[in-house]
């Protein structure tokens, strides 16, 4: 069954590539604008051995990781504090609701004027976008704590700190992790957006912009394919980390046996 699904999946990918190739070969699509699928695949393979493109990937990964780290370092503690102080949360909720929908890319012009260093601009923008999923999920996790466990500990004379450390945090941790995984996907999108919009010395977005100014659609598509692969790999890693770290939670939620 697994093998049959895999074969069908591969057949689907092959069919799409063949149709794209045929459209180019038969002149249905203008190959001067939209390159052949085989050309794009060849570029994808070439880019893997191109040291300059590898540097661009490293640059993107660096701003991505730093932005995500800043977001996590700010959002988790804020979420824990707000989650354990209901009044503070009520007071700050309207602020969160108004700040959250602001498209982080719209802040690029502002942040670009505030910071001189390119890395700081990107990290700030990425952190802004990535902090919301983490914060919202942390708050949600803090609300989802089993009241029975909390009250039990309290009635045994444990203080607020002990309840927080022994019940609330472990119970909220899986939600926080899901938030981090969602934030990682958002952070990659924003990382590439900032590279497209504010340039800089390197990055996948910068590479795509450069390829675009030379009308090299084959290179642009190949770089986009690598960005997709990057996104898939990181997501897969985070899903695996989530599964192994919080096996107990998933088992309880009935996701895995």
């Amino acid at each position: 069954m697994m093998i049959r699904t895999a074969i069908r999946g591969a057949a689907g990918v092959a069919a799409l590539l063949l149709v794209a190739e045929a459209a180019g070969r038969t002149g249905l699509a203008d190959t001067r604008i939209l390159p052949l699928a085989s050309t794009v695949l060849a570029r994808v393979a070439e880019l893997a051995g191109d040291p300059e493109f590898l540097q661009d990937i490293v640059a993107t990964l660096t701003v991505w990781a730093s932005g995500l780290l800043v977001a996590v370092a700010l959002a988790i503690p804020s979420g824990v504090v707000l989650g354990s102080l209901p009044r503070a949360e009520t007071a700050l909720r309207p602020l969160i609701e108004i700040l959250r929908p602001i498209p982080s890319v719209a802040l690029i012009p502002l942040v670009a004027l505030l910071f001189a260093a390119d890395g700081q601009v990107k990290t700030t923008i990425i952190a802004y976008a990535a902090c919301w999923p983490v914060l919202i999920n942390t708050l949600y996790g803090m609300h989802d704590v089993d009241p029975l466990a909390r009250e039990t500990l309290r009635s045994f004379g444990f203080g607020r700190r002990a309840v927080l450390l022994r019940v609330s945090l472990p119970s909220a941790a899986p939600f926080v992790m899901t938030g981090v995984r969602l934030a990682a996907a958002v952070a990659l999108i924003v990382a590439i957006s900032t590279e497209l919009l504010s340039g800089g010395v390197g990055g996948i977005g910068v590479f795509i912009m450069k390829a675009g100014s030379g009308y090299r659609v084959d290179l642009m598509l190949a770089a986009a394919v690598w960005a997709g692969i990057l996104g898939m790999v990181v997501n897969a890693l985070l899903v695996r980390a989530e599964r192994s770290l919080f096996r107990w939670h998933l088992a309880r939620a009935g996701v895995v046996a």
Binding site: I98, R100, P101, V105, L188, I189, I192, L196, G228, I229
Partner: protein, 261 residues
Amino acid sequence: MSNLAVRLLPVPLFLAAWEAGCRMAESTYFPPPSLIAARARELWFSGPATRLFLTDAAIENFVPSLGRMFGGWLLACFAGIVAGVAIGRSATLSAYLDPLIQFGRAIPPPALVPVFIVVFRDDLRMLLATIVIGVVWPVLLNAVDGARYVDRVQVDTARVFGLTRTQRLVRLVLPAAAPKIFAGLRLSLSLALVLLVVAEMTNGTINGIGYELVYMQQSFDMPGMWGIVALLAVLGLVLNLSFLLLERRTLSWHRLARRAV
């Protein structure tokens, strides 16, 4: 109502603190909110009453932007729901397409903006393509998920009672998938706003919210720039709240059913 009033009480306090902070800091980069509001009024909301006080600049930029955003979003909604329900109901189709879907949604949509600029050349098609490709994934994945897990007993019952395929689809599958689909639609609406701004900022569109933002930056108009950011925040909030309201009305039967159980 009083509950809402209590919940909104912090808003004026924040505005006052923001105003006071900016006045004390006296930084060009951080104009006080009163100045931002005045600038926004002057730029966009000082038009004649017959046009809801909107100025030419507001109509020239906001109307096309909103049109592009809703146009792209609706196209993506339609495509995503149709394809998603089909894939969700057919295990075979799902097996063939799953790797493509997983890969497609992993590509960061902004990475394709420069590609669309070269391929399409005209602004409208490029903007629509960016928004559709970017926001179709949440709709598609949620529709697949919603359509896949329809209650087995209900499907069998419908079959026994002789409902045709179309009837089963309209009366059973679509309503069962609706809550999931709506969650996807709401996610994609906020994503559409983000992608609209990215796409309008990236290329040389001649108008639009993103274009205004870049123009303000280039002319170093700080209050105007903050005004655009504030406007986007309000727009995002209004879109989200209106969609929630629509969702509640459309899905009221679902909530009632859930409560009864």
